[in-house]
């Protein structure tokens, strides 16, 4: 891709183009081009393709990560088979990733957009609200996990001590009940995600030509109608960025559940299972890689939709 884009610029440089001369002249340029293309390619190859392909290869193997590469045994698709059939945390983790995606996409992201839209109205104290909503984005998810743990803890947490009576056994088990804890954590993650979406969307809204909105208002469009038909379409590039961010956030979710309870007992996620199997003492490298490959395949779905969209945009 990079080379095809570079070629025309070279042609433009050698003013009235005499093909042969241009080639001879470009000797120094060739080195430059080779470096400019080669270094990124090496980086991409080393940091993206090499790990990805190694993961795929390792996913067909059994290896405890100790000793040289010759200790790797290849076992075909056994890891995949076992993951799908006898590994109880897998399907819950798979579902939870989908819940994360749905929750962020349907609730947290629209909420962030709403916040941005309201703050764009120049209400009094807008700056303060912005800071408040944006604050969680500045904190790492690990810190957020810790903060919410203080709120949710069944006996010592804020929520139960305000509304229940933990000392006498009346409490809601926000963190330990696998039917509740996922939603409790999604609120925590959504709290952060909404702030993130808000700041991006707010920046986008500032760039929307105010005359568009005025025109809509003069035409008698309601607030919602104007947003839906005028502002939202005008924000298309930002909307795509936000869609991508939402998908990425949902698929790479990890830190917060890991802080809360190591991502177990109702909080399983594919990323956690990868970690559990690979970097813990467990060291089931092949098994964990197989889960990682499954996560990769899932990630490819939104990625391909996005890429397909982006390219079809260019053509039109």
């Amino acid at each position: 891709m990079a080379t095809t884009e570079l070629a025309p610029t070279l042609d433009l440089d050698g003013a009235p183009p005499k093909r042969r001369r241009a080639v001879r002249l470009s000797l120094a340029d060739r080195v430059t081009v080779a470096l400019m293309v080669g270094i990124p390619m090496l980086i991409v190859g080393f940091f993206i393709w090499f790990p990805t392909i190694s993961s795929i290869i390792l996913s067909f193997s059994s290896w405890d990560g100790i000793g040289g590469l010759h200790t790797i045994q290849f076992i075909g698709t056994r890891n995949y088979h076992q993951i799908a059939t006898i590994y109880p945390p897998f399907w819950p983790a798979f579902e939870h990733n989908i819940y994360w995606l749905l929750f962020l996409a349907v609730i947290a992201t629209p909420f962030g957009i709403l916040l941005a839209y309201l703050l764009d109205k120049e209400i009094r104290g807008s700056r303060i609200y912005q800071s408040i909503f944006f604050l969680p984005v500045v904190l790492s998810l690990a810190v957020i996990g810790f903060i919410w743990e203080l709120i949710y803890s069944p006996t010592q947490g804020l929520l139960n001590n305000l509304f229940e009576d933990p000392a006498h056994g009346h409490l809601i088990d926000w963190l330990g009940n696998p039917k509740i804890n996922l939603w409790a954590i999604l609120v925590a993650a959504g709290w952060r995600h909404a702030g993130y979406v808000m700041i991006i969307y707010l920046a986008g809204l500032k760039a929307v030509d105010p005359s568009l909105r005025e025109a809509a208002a003069i035409d008698g469009a309601s607030e919602w109608h104007a947003f839906r038909t005028v502002v939202f379409p005008a924000m298309k590039p930002i909307n795509i960025v936000i869609a991508v961010i939402t998908v990425i956030e949902a698929l790479r979710a990890f830190d917060i559940v890991y802080i809360i309870n190591n991502g177990r007992n109702g909080l399983e996620l594919l990323s956690v299972l990868v970690t559990d199997n690979i970097i813990g003492e467990a060291s089931r490298i092949g098994y964990g890689s197989a889960i990682a490959v499954i996560l990769l395949v899932i990630s490819l779905i939104p990625i391909s939709i996005f890429v397909a969209n982006a390219f079809s945009e260019k053509r039109t």
């Binding site: 996913s59 006996t155 088990d173 813990g280 889960i291």
Partner: protein
């Protein structure tokens, strides 16, 4: 046994793994797996400051998982005395307890410290077998006369060489407050029926009879271990842990069914609580009993409360076994595969096995009992004396489930399985079948 929720005293240890994890997840989900494989050792090496330092003559590096405040200070006192005595400086790299355990594979394959903290039993033997530890038979020539034979056995790898030096161990027992028992006229239960009767009485008195916490996943293993040893005996337990017995057997089902009887007496929200929160329930007299290691005493910070803490051995279930076994995990030290300062490291590890080291350590951490025979009991609290007696009188000592079996089995199979039992105690049959299938998959390969 550190709490994952508490902020680690060592930012380098606790944050770096998270940062690198996140970085990897940025680069792409699938990338994570292989990058860890390929770069695991490097990544961890960079996280430990020792990787950048060349060991100066007279310095030994020490990788420590003593991250909680009390034990950390106790270890530092031991090192200070060692330095005073030998002139060898000790450079300590403390890593959060749980993180240390999770990173141990890559840590030992990367650039580990000369001496590192670890556990006896299967987990020691595993790394010895993988040649990630240095045998220290010569150290044991010095230590053998000072150590009980059980300690030497627990320090010996499958090849017959010693790889480990113990400093202390601690019993798992049922802890309670003497004042609570006295005020309510409770008596120590000797049998299962008395135990259940006592729990019922406590419930009637408005107490949570048994504090139980399993957010971190490992504390429930203690209950499984002791019930299994009480019902099926020590040998069955060891064979089960070693993968030699079947998990869907009648014996294992019996353990879970027995366990079911306890569930009505447990803390509310047990799966959302850490052991520290359970200890607080005991401390605040909200709960009557708590099965835990004696490190529960770390939460009893005032001297009066600590003096009020007492324990009894787990009640008998099957008269054939009585109360003959218990979990009493041994903590200690190992030498990494190629210590930069081998002579210094051996001096340090020998000292760590001495009675002097145990005395110093236990002076600041009065919840454990020294491994060395000559550990002074003069400063032992009543509780420590009792613990030492309990351990000495036990016929069989187990090391705790996550130390007695394969770590991949313990962490990826047993923790989720025990938690799913606690959530859904009525489906024992399908649970044990699922465990058995996963056991075959892991042990079979």
């Amino acid at each position: 046994m550190s709490d994952h929720s508490s902020p680690s005293p060592d930012p380098a240890g606790s944050l770096n793994p998270l940062l690198s994890r996140r970085k990897l997840l940025y680069t792409g989900a699938a990338g994570a797996a292989a990058l860890y494989t390929a770069g695991a050792s490097k990544a961890f090496g960079a996280a430990t400051p020792s990787a950048f330092d060349v060991a100066a003559a007279g310095t030994v590096t020490f990788g420590s998982n003593y991250s909680d405040a009390v034990p950390k200070k106790a270890m530092q006192n031991v090192f200070n005395n060692f330095t005073k005595k030998s002139g060898i400086a000790v450079k300590v790299n403390t890593v959060d307890h749980n993180t240390f355990q999770e990173q141990i594979n890559s840590y030992l394959q990367g650039k580990p410290d000369d001496v590192f903290t670890w556990f006896a039993g299967y987990r020691m033997q595993f790394f010895a077998q993988k040649h990630l530890a240095t045998p220290i038979d010569d150290v044991w020539k010095v230590l053998t006369p000072q150590m009980p034979p059980a300690m030497k056995a627990a320090s010996t790898g499958l090849d017959g060489h010693q790889y480990f030096v113990p400093i202390y161990n601690y019993p798992w027992a049922v802890f309670y407050r003497k004042s609570v028992f006295k005020a309510n006229g409770y008596t120590i239960p000797k049998t299962w029926d008395q135990f259940i009767a006592l729990a019922k009485k406590m419930q009637a008195d408005g107490l949570t009879p048994i504090a139980f916490t399993d957010k971190d996943g490992w504390p429930a293993m203690g209950t499984f271990d002791i019930l299994n040893m009480r019902i099926n005996g020590y040998q069955f337990h060891v064979d089960l842990m070693a993968g030699k017995k079947s998990w869907d057997s009648a014996q294992v089902k019996a353990v879970f069914n027995q366990w079911k009887e306890l569930l009505p007496y447990y803390s509310q929200g047990a799966l959302g609580l850490t052991w520290q929160e359970g200890a607080q329930q005991l401390l605040n007299k909200q709960a009557g009993m708590f099965l835990l290691g004696s490190f529960v005493g770390q939460q009893f910070t005032s001297a009066a409360d600590h003096a009020d803490l007492d324990f009894f051995p787990y009640p008998q279930i099957n008269p054939k076994w009585g109360q003959d076994s218990l979990d009493a995990p041994i903590d200690g030290f190992m030498l990494s595969k190629a210590p930069k300062n081998l002579a210094g490291a051996k001096q340090l590890i020998t000292y760590l096995g001495s009675a002097a080291a145990a005395n110093t350590y236990l002076a600041s951490d009065p919840n454990d009992t020294g491994a060395n025979k000559h550990t002074s009991t003069a400063h032992y609290s009543v509780l420590q004396k009792k613990a030492a007696k309990l351990i000495a009188s036990a016929k069989h000592i187990a090391q705790y489930m996550d130390r007695d079996t394969r770590p991949d089995f313990a962490s990826t199979v047993m923790i989720p399985s025990l938690q799913s039992f606690l959530n859904n105690p009525n489906d024992v049959d399908s649970l044990v079948k699922s465990i058995q299938k996963q056991k075959v998959a892991i042990f079979g390969s």
